[in-house]
């Protein structure tokens, strides 16, 4: 479990992380979401004791990271997959990390096998592709078999196969009872992976809620109805929030469930050809939520996002 309380990081005048308070619970994948430059990485670096907080605290299983008796057994972290000395083999890279925490050598071979690098583990890491480095980074995170995992943008630059692999790995880790924190700037990635969402923008907490609640709260649901009797149907839908014509024979209804529309139509004998619930994409919900907090944006984007 990670607990962050009042965490703040200031670089001179700039407040990169502004009084963040949240918790990452075991047994869940918690998505840490925010636009680029929102302060996600800085927050993770403070949790891991790499950057000093200006104020506030971050603890992992009750202890600040630097006070962990055996840090890799407390937290596994993937921060920067390209951070390997090119001339060193993956095996030795991991071996040195393991040695620093008294983790036995055999465990290095185990994690290499776990991430599918056992055949290339003795090769120079410099020859690795981005996907292989990402796997190596994951292997390092798994070395101490920790109850808490922190992944910073783990899906960046991965091919579809790699993305599926990391997703299923994170799901499995959470299912084993670990607390998994994963940052991303893409809502679409989160939707498929996370149980819980923490959204920040410009260093401030914007939302902290279960994923399904976020979806419920932020995706406006609408129902597409195709009917040859659109005028007749329109008169029935008095309780709808909004009914608009999309086509000659198609209405888009908000504020009513598909079942309700179907029931109304059937009672009045209105013929329906299609009744489809639709969701505004979460990506859009996320962008609306953070639109005021986006740090860098072009003029044209400003117009479209608002």
């Amino acid at each position: 479990m990670i607990e962050v309380r009042g965490l703040t990081k200031r670089y001179g005048e700039v407040v990169a992380v502004d009084d963040l308070t949240f918790a990452v619970r075991p047994g869940e994948v918690t998505g840490f979401l925010g636009p680029n430059g929102a302060g996600k990485s800085t927050t993770l670096r403070m949790i891991l004791g790499l950057d000093a907080a200006t104020s506030g605290t971050a603890t992992v299983s009750g202890l600040p990271y630097p006070a962990q008796p055996s840090p890799l057994k407390a937290v596994g972290a993937l921060l920067d997959p390209s951070a390997v000395l090119p001339s060193r083999t993956a095996f030795h890279h991991l071996l040195a990390l393991a040695a620093g925490n008294g983790i036995p050598r055999a465990r290095v071979d185990e994690v290499l096998a776990e991430v599918g690098l056992e055949k290339v583990g003795r090769r120079r890491a410099g020859a690795y592709s981005l996907g292989m480095r990402q796997r190596l980074g994951i292997a390092a995170a798994l070395l101490g078999d920790p109850p808490v995992l922190v992944f910073d943008e783990p899906l960046n630059g991965l091919d579809p196969e790699g993305i599926v692999w990391i997703r299923s790995l994170m799901r499995r880790m959470a299912a084993e009872g670990r607390a998994v924190l994963m940052s991303s700037h893409l809502m679409s990635e989160m939707e498929l992976t996370a149980d819980h969402l923490i959204v920040i923008g410009r260093g401030k907490l914007i939302a902290d809620m279960p994923m399904k609640d976020f979806i419920a709260a932020h995706s406006e649901r609408e129902v597409l109805v195709r009917t040859p009797q659109s005028e007749a149907l329109r008169e029935l839908l008095v309780t709808a929030v909004e009914v608009r014509d999309e086509d000659d024979d198609t209405l888009v209804v908000t504020g009513l469930e598909a079942a309700e529309i179907g029931a109304l139509a059937s009672m009045s004998g209105v013929e329906l050809h299609e009744l489809t619930p639709r969701r505004v994409s979460l990506e859009k919900a996320f962008m609306d939520l953070t639109s005021e907090a986006v740090e860098y944006r072009t003029e044209s984007e400003k117009v479209t996002v608002r």
Binding site: A99, G102, L205
Partner: protein, 296 residues
């Protein structure tokens, strides 16, 4: 295992999160965790040892240093030996067969300083400093371990380099019929052993610089400046400053350890080495302070 879903919270950041009651995480049984042995300094030493021996530059630096110093000792010894007969009596009186054979330290201090620097600048260059500090967040422990393994490599290397330079150089001198020393000579032993110590200190000097500067290139440039350029320009500096630098500038003072001829104006060999050691100690202290405070 999973918490019952809590009320959704959409809220301003000002409202505090309510934390669930603190429960001890009962995670899946996993081997090794139960014992939970704390990581120690010895573990960190082991990690740093693995890193220095799997850094490719280490071998290159060591072999290059050895080859250079042996080669220079042979050339120096041979040419000095040839010239000895033609020297004025005054020059012959201050002829220093020990320093002649150990002159390679001028370059070895740079290369071993570079090795010391690389021990940490390679981590900044490749950004592995992040995984190092995630593995061992105790920064003093990381820096101290780096220093220890560096000395464990640089001191024996320094000894071998000095000894090889001495043997090759003296053989060349004796071949040319000039005065030369035997290893059994006390002065010679001091020069060889002290030369090894000096080169180990040069390595630490580089480590301290590297920890502060973080860039390999800038560290090497600084090493050249501090260890060679100042030495080259010291005689050209105005009066008192020039004298002070020639006497107390740590690498110059420390370099006295390889001389057999005593210039009365300069520090004695061991006093000079102590100046260098003191300087390295201060720099390591500063490096520690910076390394501990700075965001990685």
């Amino acid at each position: 295992m999973r918490q019952p879903m809590k009320q959704p919270i959409v809220r301003s950041a000002a409202e505090p999160t309510r934390f669930p009651p603190v429960r001890r995480l009962r995670s899946v049984p996993r081997r090794g965790r139960a014992r939970g042995e704390a990581a120690t300094f010895a573990h960190c030493l082991h990690a740093e040892w693995i890193k220095i021996r799997t850094m490719r530059s280490t071998l290159y630096v060591l072999l290059g240093t050895l080859a250079f110093c042996a080669g220079l000792a042979a050339l120096n010894g041979w040419s000095a030996g040839e010239e000895f007969a033609g020297m004025s009596p005054a020059d012959q009186a201050v002829f220093d067969p020990l320093a002649t054979s150990l002159r390679g330290y001028l370059i070895a201090q740079i290369t071993l300083g570079l090795l010391g620097g690389l021990v940490i600048t390679s981590e900044y260059g490749a950004r592995t400093i992040v995984s190092t500090l995630v593995s061992v967040p105790h920064r003093g422990r990381v820096l101290a371990s780096k220093a220890v393994v560096l000395v464990a490599v640089a001191f024996p290397t320094g000894l071998v380099v000095s000894l090889t330079g001495f043997l090759v150089g003296q053989a060349a001198l004796s071949g040319a019929g000039a005065p030369h020393l035997a290893l059994s000579d006390g002065t010679a032993l001091r020069g060889v052993f002290g030369g090894g110590l000096y080169l180990a200190l040069a390595g630490l000097f580089g480590l301290a610089l590297g920890a502060v500067i973080r860039s390999t290139t800038a560290t090497v440039t600084t090493l050249f400046g501090v260890m060679l350029i100042v030495q080259a320009f010291a005689p050209a500096l105005p009066g008192g400053l020039g004298d002070w630098v020639s006497t107390y500038w740590p690498p110059i003072a420390g370099g006295q350890i390889i001389t057999a001829y005593r210039d009365p104006d300069l520090l004695t060999p061991w006093a000079g080495l102590c100046v260098m050691a003191g300087c390295v100690a201060v720099m390591m202290g500063a490096a520690h302070a910076v390394f501990r405070k700075r965001d990685a």
